[in-house]
């Protein structure tokens, strides 16, 4: 499935705007991303969130990724 990368994360994947990864959960997705693009681990350490069909997940790595979902990796935001 296609995983789009927010601009702030693209240098971790050599500048790519999207990458092809197969994963059923967020955990699987992130593990495979780091395996394929070791530079991404720096961004994971800084804090990452995953948007699945527009809903932003910041913490629950057990969250499943349905078939055909739109998946976006983005920086993890905080508030005030």
């Amino acid at each position: 499935m296609q995983v789009s990368l927010n601009g702030a994360l693209r240098s971790g994947a050599g500048g790519a705007a999207s990458i092809e990864i197969e994963a059923a959960t967020i955990r699987e997705l992130l593990t495979k991303v780091v395996e394929r693009y070791p530079d991404m681990s720096e961004y994971l350490d800084r804090g990452i969130a995953v948007a699945i069909d527009g809903v932003v997940f910041r913490d629950d790595w057990n969250q499943s990724i349905p078939q055909g979902a739109e998946v976006f990796l983005m920086p993890r935001i905080e508030g005030g």
């Binding site: 702030a8 809903v55 920086p75 935001i77 508030g79 005030g80």
Partner: protein
């Protein structure tokens, strides 16, 4: 037990009403205890010595005279806070910000601290500490700091996000780029292109309660910290790490909090207080003075922004770009990156690009302030939207509606939106009576939109049913503005009992599992979700007990209106059992009844708002008076409307102060000139009118009650709304926030001069 967090669309009995909050009496009688209201036997007074220079090497700290002063029990410097962060850059920055390590990086940076038997002695001791500084060149302006000849503050900073990597260090920590589509093509399709630049000055959250804590470290490595904070668990982790304590051995209790708004999500003096207590072997009470709060806690960023918007004559935006330069103080931050994520969020712009530069200057370390980074970007966007609308002859609201983001539009940060409330807010504004109020001479009207994320996070809650049938709910999210009442209402709603029978309290770190900080508008959303699930857990237990009491199988029991009822023909004539009755028998049916929930409350919605502002500008003084103000915002579901309105009004008031008066003034010497409430002018009662509110309820599909976080969004629109209102009133476009009387007068004078020149020529 797995719980489903989808919106149920149920009808409510308790939720949506305006009940009395449980902590109200303590707060109106002066009984409520805030950070500075705790004391311990044998406690010492802690005070901090701070750099009077914007940038300086610390050559030597001589505390020998101070140490000999009778009553002084401990003096610490960076030497008493060794770096135990193990290469974690973020933690190392926090450590260095709490206590300078060889170099003072801003006016007010802590260089030493003292614990003494009373305040007089501590003050005397500070005077006796001799620090030799060697002044270094400094820079405090974000644009100046980016210039090639600027003094470089950290020689290890090589700009990230730039290809090829720069060869030399600079003050530019990072470049971020976000967006989609093709802006060049988009601009080529535009009939009208407007380009503008804006600047916003630094502001502070301005909470009335200064940072305060009471720290007590024991020789066996256990410690206690009483502190005013938005996040006791975060404070525990950070303080334990910095001091080399076992996290589980540090108990952090949050006091009542006298305002936070993001400024109390990070530690400032707490590690210092703990280190003093450890050295002195006595409790240390450390309270910041007001000028310390301004100089040495975490204000928001000051910014410099360029924007370009292109649109067709018919009002469709074809392309838009933002370049956002944000200073994060003396350490690298993510503030410009956040701005990139929010700038164009209210609109569906197919070709857009936002570029953010995070810059380092000799100012305090920037912290989050209610919807961090969004208000400044929105000022640039909303001001320019009005200029474009005017240029093509379209009404300001209609132009926004024409380009409004709806479900399925792509957000600036990438994903497509789910159901969101900005179109509804704009439509509500269009219909609002304030839009038809008559405007007189020197008066004008402006509207603006705003967006902020909501977050969910780690949350857990304990719900205990007493044998008298009253329910105690322990939550881990600090109550910053009355959420206790909402959480009690949610528990009462689920259990089917009355609100008076639920008592909510905020637990300490030893009594409850980890809870994320109260920030990102998450308090009611996440603790509310956990309370719902904990109540449902308790209901399962209650049903089990009822089954025992009625001697029927448990699947024959349903829970209705606060009672257990046996269903089915053979059980139909059995009595219903109330929660009270079941609780009374609990000692004999299995012991204490409780419900518990740990949840990662993900799937938080987005908060959108639109504001209307009417102003009158005095042409002689440049003073802008707010005549009328309305906030329209989507709350998903307003659990307690009073406290939702309170968030709308409070956030708007902060935005109004930011727009008109508040700014950090730095001198050429790099020192903060106005670290006090006299010259850092926040709105007072006579500055504001009643602030009208309209709560929209577009349910969040990922929360059982549809709740969206509301706390932050309404600080975002005021800067743009007021800029637009001033433009409407005077014909002059302000581009520098705060739009204080001096700046408005200058702009009016310039416009008059230009007019004279034009009519003369």
């Amino acid at each position: 037990m797995a719980h489903d967090n989808s919106y149920t669309g149920q009808k409510f009995e308790v939720v949506g009403n305006r009940f009395i909050r449980p902590d109200g009496v303590d707060k109106v009688t002066g009984k409520a205890r805030y950070g500075a209201d705790a004391s311990a036997p044998g406690q010492l007074v802690g005070l901090v010595l701070r750099s009077p220079h914007a940038h300086a090497t610390i050559k030597k700290i001589d505390a020998s005279k101070a140490e000999k002063l009778p009553g002084v029990k401990a003096i610490i410097t960076a030497e008493d806070l060794p770096d135990l962060t193990g290469g974690d850059r973020g933690m190392a920055d926090i450590l260095e910000n709490c206590m300078a390590r060889g170099r003072a990086l801003y006016d007010g940076h802590a260089v030493a601290a003292v614990a003494a038997v009373d305040a007089q002695t501590a003050r005397q001791a500070l005077k006796l500490i001799k620090v030799s500084y060697k002044k270094l060149p400094h820079v405090t302006d974000v644009d100046k700091a980016m210039k090639p000849n600027a003094p470089v503050i950290h020689d290890w900073i090589i700009t990230g996000g730039v290809d090829p990597k720069p060869a030399k260090p600079s003050n530019i920590a990072n470049r971020t780029q976000m967006g989609h589509g093709d802006v060049e093509t988009g601009f080529a399709e535009a009939d009208v292109i407007i380009e503008r630049s804006y600047k916003t000055e630094q502001t502070h959250q301005g909470y009335i309660e200064p940072h305060a804590c009471l720290a007590s470290v024991n020789p066996d490595g256990t410690a206690e910290l009483w502190v005013t904070t938005q996040g006791p668990f975060t404070y525990r982790t950070v303080c334990a790490t910095l001091l080399g304590l076992d996290i589980a051995k540090l108990k952090v209790t949050s006091s009542e909090i006298g305002g936070g708004f993001g400024g109390k999500t990070h530690v400032w003096t707490e590690p210092v207080a703990l280190a003093l207590s450890r050295k002195a072997n006595r409790p240390v009470k450390l309270v910041m003075t007001r000028d310390e709060v301004f100089r040495a806690s975490g204000p928001t960023a000051s910014t410099s922004i360029d924007i370009k918007i292109g649109a067709t004559k018919k009002g469709v935006i074809t392309a838009a770009t933002l370049e956002l330069r944000y200073q994060g103080g003396a350490f690298p931050g993510i503030w410009a990156m956040l701005a990139c994520m929010t700038g164009f969020a209210c609109y569906d712009i197919k070709n857009q690009r936002s570029v953010g530069w995070d810059v380092i200057v000799n100012r305090p370390k920037v912290a989050a302030y209610r919807a961090p980074s969004a208000p400044m970007a929105a000022y640039a966007v909303e001001s320019t939207m009005d200029i474009v609308a005017q240029e093509i002859g379209m009404d300001a609201v209609d132009f926004r509606l024409k380009n409004v983001a709806k479900e399925g539009a792509q957000a600036p940060y990438g994903p497509l939106y789910g159901p969101i409330g900005i179109e509804a807010a704009l439509k509500a504004v269009k219909k609002h009576p304030q839009m038809r109020a008559k405007l007189k001479k020197n008066q004008g009207r402006g509207i603006a939109c705003g967006f902020w994320f909501n977050i969910g996070g780690q949350t857990c809650v304990d719900l205990n049913v007493g044998t008298d049938g009253t329910v105690s709910l322990a939550v881990g999210t600090v109550d910053v503005g009355g959420a206790r009442s909402s959480l009690g209402m949610i528990a009462a709603e689920e259990l089917g009992i009355s609100y008076d029978e639920v008592k909510v309290h905020v637990a300490d770190t030893a009594s409850l599992g980890h809870n994320d900080t109260t920030e990102g508008s998450r308090g009611t959303f996440s603790s509310g979700m956990a309370a719902i699930f904990a109540a449902r857990d308790a209901i399962e237990v209650l049903k089990g007990r009822a089954a025992k009491m009625l001697d029927v199988p448990v699947d024959a029991i349903v829970w209705e209106n606060g009672q257990a009822k046996a269903v089915g023909k053979q059980h139909g004539n059995l009595p219903k059992l109330s929660l009270k009755e079941i609780a009374a028998k609990s000692p004999n049916t299995g012991g204490p009844i409780a419900g518990h929930n740990e949840v990662v409350a993900d799937g938080a919605g987005m908060g959108f708002a639109c504001h209307i502002c009417d102003v009158e500008v005095d042409p002689e003084t440049g003073l802008t008076k707010i005549l009328r103000y309305t906030v329209v915002q989507d709350a998903g579901k307003a659990i307690h409307p009073d406290y939702v309105e309170g968030q709308f009004q409070g956030a708007a008031a902060q935005g109004i102060g930011w727009a008109l008066n508040e700014e950090y003034v730095y001198g050429d010497d790099g020192r903060l000139q106005n670290p006090g409430f006299l010259d850092y002018r926040i709105p007072v009662c006579s500055d504001l009118p009643f602030i009208d509110t309209k709560i929209l309820e577009i349910p969040n599909p990922n929360h059982p009650y549809g709740i969206r976080g509301v706390g932050e969004t309404s600080i975002v629109p005021p800067l743009g709304a007021i800029g637009n209102a001033i433009a409407d009133a005077t014909g002059v476009r302000m581009n520098h926030v705060p739009m204080s009387p001096i700046r408005v007068l200058e702009a009016l004078d310039q416009a008059a001069t230009l007019e004279d020149q034009v009519s003369a020529g």
